[in-house]
Symmetry: C2
Subunit: 83 residues, 2 copies
């Protein structure tokens, strides 16, 4: 089966507090940088085999919904590239 | 000054062990998914003001080298978009 890499980006929904990002922003300010806002996200790159890109995206989306993201807190996007 | 968003992706260098990624991969296998390899990365989105895109990229690169990435362990890429 063809080989794909699915890239999943998981970020907090707007309005969900992100203390890690705020701490990082404050640390950058202490170093003298001026950052208006900072958001963090997790990125997962999954190597998998599938019949076609649509199937690979479907698999990666199911993995994201079952494990990688929490639908209450997170939004996510999935992109698929041929490897 | 114009407003930019710099996106910084920080990942482990090839060869650096990533136990979190391996644990995630095993969890996906236990759920019945077949993933050949899984890599994780941290993504930071920085809102900042700068005279031009090149300056914004320079600032974000300096922030990355001073705080967001550890050059011994990580490689990174910086992209800049007008906000």
């Amino acid at each position: 089966m063809p080989a794909f890499t699915a890239t999943v980006t998981v970020r907090l929904k707007q309005g969900v507090l992100d203390p890690e990002a705020e701490t990082t922003r404050q640390a950058l300010e202490r170093l003298g940088f001026d950052v208006e806002a900072l958001r963090t996200a997790d990125r997962f790159e999954l190597d998998l085999a599938a019949a076609d890109p649509a199937t690979a995206e479907e698999q990666a989306t199911e993995m994201t919904e079952r494990l990688l993201a929490n639908p209450t807190l997170h939004e996510y996007e999935v992109t698929v590239d041929r490897r």
